[in-house]
């Protein structure tokens, strides 16, 4: 299948390894990956911080960049969530009916990575090998906006050699929330502290998630604590083979 990758602004600029792993994984599974040149960002930060009008040109750019794609895959639950549940609404709110309809069309063809692997490709075992103790943070937007359910866990369980341990209070937010982490830094930090102590308590050496943004938040807290726990995107675990 010809897969258009929406790599996301955060992965492009700060966590390119997540994008590389997604490309390698999809290629290993026998698919052609294209990266539409016009792409930038989904505009979620603007929408969620209260700037729908400023988000509009970003959304328009995104829709245009992916209008010809057969299927769009993104390694981010929150970006997929924004594309599916915010783009058309924001466009409509700004009186852009044509754009709203185009955004709905793009949204229908857009999948978060674990959704794509599980639902479109019908895979549970992607042939990965990862002999480490791993715990998984399901991320709020994957869980509650996209409703990915246990798809990431099913994929992880099938990884050869993995020692997958349950994360206590896994479904509780890590406190990132985009600009929330800065606007309400104290509350965000308190939420992060509980998330980190749950992660460290599992004894896992690797923390996975389906979203680079949550991993950035928890990871930069873990890095400050010098905990030794490595944050890795789901794609980075699934990419590995023996």
């Amino acid at each position: 299948m010809r897969v258009a990758l929406f790599v996301t602004c955060l992965v492009d600029g700060l966590f390119p390894d997540v994008g590389k792993a997604t490309v390698r994984l999809l290629e290993r599974l026998g698919h052609e990956v294209v990266v539409p040149a016009g792409q930038t960002c989904c505009g979620q930060m603007h929408v969620n911080t209260g700037y729908p009008r400023q988000a509009l040109p970003i959304i328009r750019n995104h829709v245009k960049a992916f209008e010809d794609a057969e299927v769009v895959v993104t390694p981010s639950g929150s970006c997929a969530g924004s594309i599916r549940h915010q783009h058309a609404d924001v466009a409509r709110g700004q009186g852009e009916r044509v754009l709203a309809e185009a955004a709905e069309e793009t949204a229908k063809r857009t999948y978060e990575l674990s959704e794509f692997l599980a639902d479109v490709l019908g895979l549970t075992d992607v042939g990965a090998y990862f002999p480490h103790r791993v715990t998984h943070h399901p991320t709020c937007h994957s869980l509650r906006v996209l409703k990915v359910g246990d798809r990431p866990l099913r994929l992880l369980r099938a990884v050869e050699g993995i020692d997958l341990v349950e994360l206590p209070a896994a479904e509780t937010c890590c406190g990132f929330g985009g600009t929330f982490a800065v606007k309400n830094a104290d509350t965000s930090t308190a939420m992060l502290a509980d998330k980190m102590s749950n992660v460290i308590g599992t004894g896992a050496g690797v923390l996975t998630a389906g979203d680079a943004s949550c991993l950035m938040h928890i990871g930069s807290g873990l890095s400050r604590l010098r905990s030794g726990v490595r944050p890795l995107h789901l794609a980075q675990v699934l990419e590995n083979t023996r």
């Binding site: 700060l14 390119p16 930038t40 930060m45 911080t49 209260g50 400023q54 406190g175 509350t187």
Partner: protein, 464 residues
């Protein structure tokens, strides 16, 4: 969106900016322990009893639909409700805002000549600040709900819709009773039974001697003019039946069209609020009992203005169950006082700014990480996260130009074009060294700043 002539909500709906108020609460380790323990327990209970019902999703959809129907034709339902009440001998009063509602109630109370009224736990009277208004005319209002009584005796503020004293531990309650409850046993222990017994003795005396009661209502039935109070302790029922004058203060959104609709909510409410299959006491009254005078004060206080906003009006579906508070990771850390309003937690973060207008409450829509758990647990399916996002838009619009809005505009310019975005990410490489030393305000308090990579994804992709 708000039209002239729509009264804005006043009363106990605003406070200090959320981030500041939260900071104070976050420093209180005892508070955080109390909150975490209480919310964890009630969350588990709720999840258990909700999972028991195979038709929960349908019940929830029915609850949302009934409330939406009421809101869509609220004017007609209110007129029917008033007619039914009047026909049964209850006097109906209309209040545009908190001040008007307080004036109506204080006048009614003063006319009875009493110096004390007993109260059924009520969010509406807390919202309008009725106790303070009564105190100003020399009338003491006695809260009869145990948790409200603890808050009142401690000269404290409620921090939860359902469990106003959730932030207090047993030892603290014992201290409050010993210091402030008249005639209490000085050897009172912190045993819950002993505490409850002390409150019971104190309240029984009030029930038997005070002749005027003030209540709210969980529901009003438009068809019949019935009022419904749902409670756990039975104190409310004492207030509703014993005094000769009963004054009920009711928000205009509390109506249900017909008696039949109540069935849905009597399933949704207790399971969502206390995690019980059914609450111990449900009192329904239609008109005054013999020898009683009854009044109903219907309060707007910003509700019509909320109704006028199609993206925000679903907040008026709220049945005050507090499932969203008990599930919210922000509420769990900060407690209710940080929200500065009678309505704390996620629902407060959307309701208070709508009732008062966003300009009066600009920090509340941002008091959420948008994790979405509030929407999942809401028994009437209020999409709180989307509503928060909508209200954030109204806040930033009202504020015009700020450093943040300038930055957002610049970033939008960069992000709406791939070439501009590319140049911007390449700048990151030069920022690599700087990012190790330059702190990001807010972020670097507890978190390291991620270092931009040598090569962006796009550079890698194109060089491949």
């Amino acid at each position: 969106m708000t039209f002239l002539g729509m009264p804005a909500g006043r009363g106990n709906l605003t406070g200090a900016p959320f981030p500041e108020a939260a900071r104070t609460a976050l420093k209180d380790a005892q508070l955080r322990r109390n909150l975490a323990k209480a919310t964890t327990t009630i969350r588990a209970k709720r999840a258990g009893v909700v999972a028991e019902l195979p038709d929960w999703a349908e019940l929830r959809a029915a609850g949302a639909a009934i409330k939406d129907q009421v809101l869509a034709d609220l004017d007609e339902h209110l007129v029917r409700f008033e007619e039914a009440l009047t026909a049964r001998g209850t006097t109906v009063h209309w209040a545009r805002d908190a001040d008007e509602a307080n004036r109506v109630v204080t006048d009614l109370v003063l006319a009875t000549g009493t110096e004390e009224v007993i109260k059924v736990k009520s969010m509406a009277t807390a919202e309008i600040g009725l106790n303070e208004a009564l105190a100003a005319v020399g009338v003491h209002a006695v809260e009869t709900d145990l948790a409200e009584l603890i808050v009142q005796l401690g000269n404290d503020r409620s921090s939860h819709i359902l469990v106003p004293a959730i932030h207090r531990g047993r030892a603290e309650i014992r201290e409050i009773f010993r210091r402030h409850m008249p005639g209490v046993d000085p050897d009172l222990t912190a045993d819950p039974r002993a505490l409850a017994e002390a409150a019971r003795k104190h309240l029984r005396h009030k029930f038997l001697t005070v002749d005027v009661a003030v209540s709210g209502a969980n529901f009003g039935i438009a068809d019949t003019g019935s009022l419904v109070v749902v409670e756990s302790e039975g104190n409310g029922r004492m207030c509703l039946t014993l005094p000769r004058t009963l004054i009920s203060v009711v928000g205009i959104e509390k109506l249900l069209p017909s008696w039949r609709d109540l069935e849905v909510f009597l399933q949704l409410l207790p399971r969502s609020s206390t995690g019980e299959r059914m609450n111990p006491y449900t009192s329904v009254w239609t008109g005054p009992t013999e020898g009683q005078t009854s009044h109903v004060v219907l309060v707007d206080n910003g509700r019509t203005a909320t109704l006028a906003d199609p993206d925000g009006r679903a907040a008026l579906r709220c049945i005050r169950c507090s499932a969203c508070l008990n599930s919210c990771p922000v509420y769990e850390r900060t407690g209710g006082h940080a929200y500065g309003s009678t309505y704390p937690g996620p629902i407060g973060a959307v309701l208070s700014p709508q009732l008062t207008g966003v300009v009066e409450n600009p920090t509340l829509p941002f008091a959420s990480s948008l994790c979405g758990v509030c929407y999942d647990v809401c028994p009437v399916a209020i999409d709180i996260p989307s509503m928060l996002v909508h209200l954030r838009g109204r806040v930033t619009e009202a504020k015009r130009t700020t450093p943040e809005s300038t930055a957002m505009r610049a970033l939008a310019w960069v992000m709406s074009d791939a070439r501009r975005w590319r140049r911007f990410t390449r700048l990151g490489k030069f920022g690599r060294t700087a990012s190790r030393h330059v702190p990001l305000p807010g972020w670097s308090v507890a978190r390291d700043v991620p270092r931009p990579p040598e090569e962006t994804f796009r550079d890698w992709w194109e060089a491949r």
